[in-house]
């Protein structure tokens, strides 16, 4: 084996230009493989950071109260049922009891108690319908990183303050520090000062969302205690499916994973990952075909030498090992050079930390380059590619080969 390896190395070094070209070709293939891995992986990270990154990973929503019977039935016929109303807000009352339990669970990095509802924002003669989110002061950025979206003012929600989206502010010709009137769907009004303006970059939140403190929301929705929902942020958003049932069991409440609401997003990410696999498979296939054709040529060129070696007592196995070793060495060198080049080029791109909300940069994740995998797959691919030429070389009739 050692001697076959020596001969393989000698053959490669004897044709330096050809070997260098071949290794370069393999390295290009590996570079593409690594670049695709980093791009597909980075794109997935980017999409997740820009979507699910700002979402609640597990949400506990108060279950809607069944419409009440206004008149009791006689056992057979319902006489009168109150119509379900959006104003009849369901409330989670025992949050002080279960929030510490949830926050103690491994993987939970934060919780946000909220009071949500709808209302109207009024400034002079202008009226716009908005969604009102009441957040705990000091925890404004636990779920959506509000602080990172602030373009003017502050994300801190104090009593009497409101955060509005940039589009809404522009539509209503508002400014930071102005006073607006916020009326809940229950008819309660509050005069609030614009203490912050944010820009998330998506139409809905920027145009129709108003953030107030939890205390303000209690007043607006006449909810002296409890909240309408609890949002939970996890360190690993993919752990939500496993953790949601635990929280349901722990609290007896309806805890739902974000994936239930984002099946299409997951589907798109899966499709994207599959596209990446196909592209990487093509890159690998190109490497295999390149190495196989180059070694077939080498085998043809060295036919007389193969015949001599066979005449001198080299077995078919020895000849096979010589050519497979060449394939392995080409694959290994191409893999290492391609991986190094890939890593070097990817260093020029922003780190994955910049994929987060409010940051910019191409979504290429250097940590997802799959460098080791690329080297291993390339080496294995090159070995596989060299088997056919090696077998052809080993089967050569020495008499015919020497005669050439």
């Amino acid at each position: 084996m050692l001697y076959a390896l020596k001969i393989a190395i000698r053959y490669l070094t004897a044709s330096r230009a050809q070997t260098a070209l071949l290794v370069f070709g393999v390295a290009i293939g590996v570079f593409i493989f690594i670049f695709m891995s980093a791009l597909i992986g980075g794109l997935a990270e980017f999409i997740m950071a820009r979507t699910a990154g700002d979402m609640s990973h597990i949400t506990i929503q108060a279950e809607a109260v069944d419409p009440a019977l206004v008149l009791p039935s006689d056992g057979r016929t319902v006489l009168l049922v109150q119509e379900a109303s959006s104003q009849a807000t369901a409330v989670l009352k025992d949050t002080p009891a279960f929030i510490p339990l949830i926050e103690a669970l491994p993987g939970v990095i934060g919780t946000s108690q909220q009071i949500n509802g709808s209302g109207f924002l009024t400034r002079g003669a202008q009226v716009t319908q908005v969604s009102i989110n009441g957040l705990e002061p000091g925890r404004e950025s636990v779920i959506a990183n509000l602080a990172s979206y602030i373009t003017a003012g502050t994300a801190s929600l104090g009593a009497g303050g409101v955060l509005l989206g940039k589009t809404l502010v522009e539509d209503m010709d508002l400014r930071l520090g102005q006073t607006v009137r916020l009326q809940s769907s229950g008819g309660v009004e509050a005069l609030l000062t614009i203490t912050g303006i944010y820009e998330m970059g998506s139409g809905g939140p920027d145009r129709r969302q108003a953030y107030v403190s939890l205390a303000t929301a209690r007043t607006l929705f006449k909810m002296p205690q409890g909240v309408t929902r609890v949002e939970i942020k996890l360190a690993d958003l993919y752990a939500a499916d496993a953790l949601a049932p635990r929280i349901r069991a722990l609290t007896g409440l309806d805890a739902r994973s974000w994936t239930e609401q984002a099946a299409q997003l997951l589907e798109a990410l899966r499709a994207q990952a599959q596209t990446g696999y196909i592209l990487k498979a093509f890159a690998l296939l190109t490497i295999i075909i390149g190495v196989a054709s180059a070694l077939l040529l080498s085998t043809y060129r060295r036919r007389p030498e193969i015949g001599i070696m066979r005449a001198m007592g080299a077995g078919r196995w020895f000849v096979t090992v010589v050519f497979v070793s060449q394939g392995a060495l080409i694959g290994l060198m191409g893999g290492v050079f391609g991986a190094a080049a890939g890593y070097g080029v990817l260093l020029a791109f922003p780190a994955r930390e910049s994929f987060g909300p409010g940051q910019s940069g191409l979504p290429i994740d250097i940590t997802q380059g799959a460098y080791g995998l690329a080297i291993i797959l390339t080496t294995l691919g090159a070995i596989a590619a060299s088997i056919l030429p090696a077998r052809a070389a080993a089967r050569l009739d020495p008499v015919t080969a020497i005669g050439q």
């Binding site: 001599i308 070696m309 005449a311 001198m312 007592g313 077995g315 078919r316 020895f318 020497i402």
Partner: protein, 225 residues
Amino acid sequence: MTALLSVQDLVKTFGSGDAETRVLRGLNLAMQTGELAALLGPSGSGKSTLLTILGTLMHPTSGSHTMLGVDLTRASDQALTEFRNLHIGFVFQFHNLLPDFTALENVIFPTAVREGRETVRARARGQDLLVRMGLADRINFPTANLSGGQKQRVAVARALMNSPELVLADEPTGNLDRASALQVMDLIAEINREEGTTFLISTHDEKIAAVCRRQIVVGDGLLTG
């Protein structure tokens, strides 16, 4: 002298049907150890085919082939490869050295390929052989930098590397000038004399044949003399 090899009723045909060519037609030959024999005959008489079969590079179509008491007639490829490596050396007309290797690397190839590495012992033996061939100053030369005569002497050294009982030489001087040809033949005769290695040399050159103690003449696929 003891019996080294024997072929009986050796037949070799190439092609089939109308294109069938019978090159050897029931040839019989026996050789003893220590012989220095010339294989003579016109082109197409079957000399090269006989050498190829004796060198275990080809199976005969029929007949028997034994060497050192081993029946090689239908031996497997692996068995023939191992036998060839240990007991038979080759010298070709066009030296057929490995071009990307030095003279020493070429000489020790038969041993290195068997042992799986280039041992110190093999290198020492290879160097001794090259010195004996008058190539002491060419040991680590790439073979591409050697003259025709030097290359052929390297080929002879390679053929002797595993101390084989039989060396088959196919026109070993056919591509050399007169001086180099005689130099190579003198070396072959010296080794035959001193080590008792059997040589069977295919040649058209009567002066080369005259150096040999036995002349085997092949004509039309049979021994004629």
